[in-house]
């Protein structure tokens, strides 16, 4: 997996007592093609504070183009923004 840090549009379920739960997101790939991905499975969630910037990293797995792919989404707390962190 490589760091992409690509800003994405995401549909997220904010739960009452748990961490936000991403459901699906949209990103443009290297060819500029807009892809829609459903988050099939969240494997783990970790809080990180690299360079003092607080964020949550979600390790996820989805079927993209018929293949099972794992990737990481990042929620930047102070920006209230989602990124496709690694893929």
């Amino acid at each position: 997996m490589k760091i992409l840090a690509e800003p994405i549009e995401a549909a997220v379920w904010f739960k009452s007592k748990e961490k936000p739960h991403p459901i699906k997101f949209r990103y443009s790939d290297r060819e500029g093609l807009v892809r829609k991905v459903n988050v099939d499975k969240i494997i783990s969630v970790d809080e990180i504070k690299t360079a003092g910037i607080r964020a949550f990293v979600y390790r996820c797995q989805s079927e993209i183009d018929g293949a099972m792919k794992s990737y990481e989404l990042k929620y930047l707390v102070s920006d209230c923004r989602w990124e496709l962190y690694k893929m």
Binding site: K2, I3, L4, A5, I48, K49, T50, A51, G52, I53
Partner: protein
């Protein structure tokens, strides 16, 4: 015996920028190439604020002008500073340290002292804890620190400066002779360029030479600081780790380097007013009144002079401080083009009672009430939510001095 840690982020601005860039997917670690953080040369802030260790090998040093540095290594990679990021990094580091003891002193943006004495029962051996702190900062925050471990602040600080980066050094009193005395005397805390020259003249070249010198001789040569540096050279320092909230501030000042040389008196007054706004705001936030005002000027020829006056009574309103500032400026300015202006107030008194004077030009109670309201508006809606009408149609920034609207911690300063 106390146990004191000194934690120092390695080339702070640069490694913080590096950590943030890597996190954003930047392909290279700028700590590993000749690189530097520098202000914008266009508005005359182009000096090297931090450099990487590979850049140091080409003779690039903090405080050099960007032009000088580029001459030494034309391919130097230069990045702008990001003070918001640096605050985040500094705060994150401070919060990790606070987990080990409540006694943490933020000495500057990238340095902290920590009194570990009472924490030994809970967290165990100081060296183990120092390694844990160092490794946690590296893993969790993505930058490296040096930790100095000793029995007082001075030795801990000298210890953390021994070899960089990502190192732990102890400098217990028994190790002074081996680890600190061979170093050049200029490396000692509080020994600057001028003192080094004076000491070298009498053949004191290393810290060891200074330690073995006669303290009375040092006092005669350097006055009272002579005794202090002699004590430092011998590893003597009784100062305590003090929480920043307990440090008593003795003066407040702000200054600015202007993007062009100012030759017009009216424009200089505008800048002085903008600086006074900041200084007076900070003074009132501390709850003090000042009775000494000073103005400093740096000319285009880099000649610096200042002028100060003691007031009959104590003041804290922007208008009154500005009046004194104008008088001082007119008294000392010789008409040269101005590069840098500064305003400073000191001689504080707690602002509860105030001596009225028959000769007060304006109704100071009204002014105080006005400033109180202005301060409240600025606290609620932002520093620039209300500015003086004088600045409305000009291009002079209405409130000047300080980085990031004064939220930034520099040496000695700290947001309360």
């Amino acid at each position: 015996m106390r146990t004191i840690f000194h934690i120092d982020a390695n080339s702070a601005y640069l490694s913080w920028t590096a950590a943030a860039l890597l996190e954003k997917g930047y392909p290279i670690d700028i700590r590993e190439i000749p690189s530097a953080i520098s202000g914008d040369p266009l508005n005359r802030h182009g000096i090297i604020l931090a450099k990487s260790i590979p850049a140091k090998k080409y003779g690039i040093a903090t405080g050099q002008s960007l032009f000088e540095a580029k001459q030494k290594y034309p391919e130097l990679a230069v990045y702008p500073p990001n003070y918001d990021l640096y605050m985040l990094c500094s705060n994150a580091m401070y919060h990790i340290l606070c987990e080990y003891t409540p006694l943490v002193e933020r000495y500057s943006i990238d340095e902290c002292f920590l009194d570990y004495t009472a924490s030994q029962n809970k967290f165990g051996d100081p060296l183990d804890a120092a390694y844990e702190i160092k490794n946690r900062i590296k893993e969790e925050l993505g930058f490296t620190v040096n930790v100095g471990v000793s029995c007082n602040k001075l030795l801990a600080k000298m210890g953390s400066e021994l070899k960089k980066p990502d190192q732990i050094h102890t400098l217990w009193p028994g190790e002074i002779e081996k680890k600190m005395w061979p170093l050049p005397v200029g490396e000692l805390f509080m020994v600057g360029r001028a003192t080094t020259q004076k000491l070298q003249k009498i053949n004191i070249n290393t810290i060891g030479d200074l330690a073995k010198a006669d303290p009375n001789h040092m006092r005669a040569l350097l006055k009272s600081p002579g005794l202090v540096v002699w004590e430092f050279a011998n590893g003597i320092d009784a100062s305590e780790v003090t929480l920043n909230s307990d440090i008593i501030q003795k003066g407040v000042g702000n200054s600015t380097t202007i993007s062009h040389d100012v030759t017009d008196r009216t424009e200089a007054f505008m800048i002085l007013l903008a600086l006074t706004e900041r200084v007076a705001m900070r003074l009132r936030r501390l709850g003090y009144m000042a009775s000494l005002v000073s103005v400093s000027i740096k000319t285009d020829g880099f000649i610096r002079y200042s002028h100060q006056m003691k007031l009959r009574n104590c003041i804290n309103t922007t208008t009154e401080i500005y009046e004194s500032v104008c008088i001082l400026f007119d008294q000392c300015w010789k008409g040269e083009p101005i590069r840098h202006l500064g305003v400073h107030v000191s001689d504080f008194q707690v602002s509860e009672a105030r001596q009225f004077s028959l000769f007060d030009k304006c109704d100071s109670e009204k002014l105080q009430a006005l400033d109180k309201v202005v301060d409240k508006i600025r606290a609620k809606y932002g520093t620039r939510s209300i500015i003086r009408g004088r600045f409305a149609n000009g291009n002079v920034n209405a409130i000047q001095g300080g980085t990031n609207d004064s939220d930034f911690i520099m040496m000695g300063g700290y947001r309360q």
